[in-house]
């Protein structure tokens, strides 16, 4: 049996479909203001089909806070969904159409009120058929249903047959079930606040397992996890885990989440945990036969998370140059496996460039000069020292920039070759880049050519 719920004036912010889900999970949203539900199997919950219709009408009148629609609805119960639709749209209140007696109920409806879209007849064809029927003197559903099928087929074609079956309430079709929008969120309130990571990991594991099972059921993945921890001090600790590729492996998520929580621990004990995710289509890739092996995305993410915990997030990634002449200007980007093939730069194939090892921070140096040029350099730092007589030099090259900013720079740079002194014979000679700050006249060793 099918029940059609029809509401002519439904408040815009209320959904008839959501209301219908309270009675059955099998809901067809036929058109605006009309839904059909399959009520088979609802007897244990609501009693007979008629009792169900009464319950629908009663609940619809209730306020929205009680789950109602604050309006009067028409409800029709029939063995045929299309007969139920016709009955509900034309008859006020509750209508019960007995199986096989559809015409008793809807037989007197004007034939022009046939909802031709239900049997996939276009508007123009339907109008032509209705005009023909009018000329034949066919006025009601009953008149149309009583016509011989062969004659209708000869004169009106297959569209006419379908419309005739619709009028007789004898169409056979399945409901176009509307699936409720899946919610990929899980939360859990704890009886006792948790202060340690280990017990929290069990909660995470449980919630993530459910979340990934839901994602699996819809063949989806996620590339963002939002974790909200309600803390004992009435604050919320929020963490957003962005992944470069959609995944749905709860074990990987759990490890990533634990590593992230270790790096960013909540400020107080946790009393509720909520995990949400944004579902996206999973990535489907086929690697090439001749493409070198790359790290597996899930393993790489775990490795990056572990490395971030070890050296800090800011010390990990791909270098990226900044569009400036400022010395040693760069940014760190998040490392993501490239999807494109690399461009082979054959033009510079045989050109070897001299390497530069930048000292960060630059080594403060004491420089003796002769005629304005460095002659002797000594610089000591915690990790390295540079000491020696300048045997060859090139420069100075003046670079300045960003004069309008506080962190402007202005310096004279030299390339120098140092000979090791006899006292420090273990210090190897080397090529260095040194510079003198113009504003402070201080000398620094910027780095070592290698």
């Amino acid at each position: 049996m099918f029940a059609c719920i029809y509401s002519e004036k439904l408040p815009a912010d209320l959904s008839l479909t959501d209301f219908a889900y309270a009675f059955s999970p099998l809901v067809e949203e036929t058109k605006a203001g009309t839904v059909v539900i399959d009520v088979d199997g609802c007897e244990l919950l609501f009693g007979s089909a008629y009792q169900l219709a009464q319950e629908v009408a009663r609940r619809a009148k209730q306020s929205r806070t009680s789950g109602g629609l604050e309006s009067i609805v028409n409800v029709a119960i029939a063995a045929n969904p299309d007969a139920a639709i016709h009955a509900a749209t034309r008859l006020q209140g509750i209508t019960f159409v007995s199986p096989g007696e559809e015409l008793t109920c809807v037989g007197e409806f004007p034939v022009t009120h046939l909802d031709y879209s239900l049997v996939k007849v276009d508007e123009q064809t339907a109008a032509e058929i209705f005009e023909t029927l009018r000329l034949w003197g066919i006025r009601s559903f009953r008149d149309f249903a009583s016509l011989p099928v062969a004659g209708v087929s000869e004169r009106l074609g297959q569209e006419g047959i379908r419309l005739q079956q619709l009028a007789a309430g004898k169409t056979e079709r399945h409901l176009k079930i509307k699936q409720p929008a899946p919610v990929f969120a899980n939360s859990l309130e704890l009886e006792h606040p948790i202060t340690e990571l280990e017990p929290l990991s069990f909660i995470f594991a449980r919630l993530l397992h459910q979340l990934c099972a839901a994602l699996n059921a819809y063949a989806l993945g996620t590339n963002e996890l939002l974790v909200e921890l309600q803390l004992e001090n009435q604050t919320t600790h929020e963490r957003r885990l962005s992944l470069p590729y959609p995944m749905r492996d709860h074990k990987v998520f759990l490890k990533l989440l634990l590593l992230d929580t270790e790096m960013h621990p909540p400020a107080a004990a946790v009393r509720a945990v909520s995990i949400k995710c944004e579902p996206v289509k999973p990535r489907v890739l086929q690697s090439g036969l001749f493409v070198p092996l790359a790290p597996a995305p899930d393993k790489l993410e775990l490795t990056l998370a572990r490395l971030a915990k070890l050296v800090g997030e800011e010390n990990l990634g791909s270098p990226s140059l900044v569009d400036t002449h400022r010395p040693d200007a760069f940014t760190m980007k998040r490392f993501v496996l490239p999807s494109k093939k690399s461009i082979r730069k054959s033009a510079i194939k045989n050109r070897q460039c001299l390497g530069l090892r930048m000292f960060r921070p630059a080594l403060r140096a004491v420089v003796e000069t002769e005629q304005g040029c460095p002659a002797q350099i000594s610089a000591w730092g915690k990790q390295r020292s540079v000491y020696g007589k300048v045997v060859q030099l090139a420069g100075p090259w003046r670079t300045t920039g960003d004069w309008w900013r506080e962190d402007r720079w202005a310096r004279d740079e030299w390339d120098v070759a140092l000979a090791s002194s006899k006292k420090l014979s273990d210090e190897p000679p080397g090529l260095y880049r040194i510079y003198r700050k113009l504003n402070s006249e201080m000398w620094f060793v910027a780095g070592n050519y290698d």
């Binding site: 050109r351 030099l393 090139a394 290698d450």
Partner: protein
Amino acid sequence: MRSALSKVEIESDIAARFGDAFKIHEKVAAETLSTGIVEVDASTGGIPRGAITEIFGPRSSGRTSLMYSLLRYATTHDEICALVDTNDVFTPAAAATSGIDFERLLWIRCAANLEDAFKATDLLLHAGGFGLVILDLGDVAGKDVRRIISSWWYRFRRTVENRPTAVVVISEEACTRSCAALTLELHGHAEWSQASISYGNLLRFNSINVNRCRPLWPTLNESQFRARAIA
């Protein structure tokens, strides 16, 4: 003869229990990764995959130039590379001029923490899939390098065995001992241009000698290349 026979008999008797423990596995020639320098490839055959390669030499000996060349070749041939930078000395501006594809380079800066550098390398090797992993110990003091325990190197060697990852260790002194499949010693010699009226001297090239210390071949053990100064 008798003793040899009895050995075969004993082995055949207990072979079922110990599987192929008595089989002598033939050593397959290692695949190599080009250094991007024809002269160095000619004398070394390239950097072996699934093994450790050590590049050592004093400051300004050309270790970083060779590293740039390696990274350029690997990143432009679809390999994913990782650089564990112990002393945070990698210079992106200089590296960019050599043609390294930064999209394929994972740079890990360890802020002079030697232990972190080794742990990071270990994580990378266990993750797998990297074509080239470079551990740069070039600015670590000699006394600290000598203190590195051998078990780390054995662990790395064992981890990358039979994998397509080439591990390169850059240092001032040889430190990997017998764990390195290839050891290269570098020496550099700067070439300066003649003085000119407008610019004075210019650092033009660093002429770099590469000596293969291990394994020694009877024919060619030495090569040379020149690295052009950035200016």
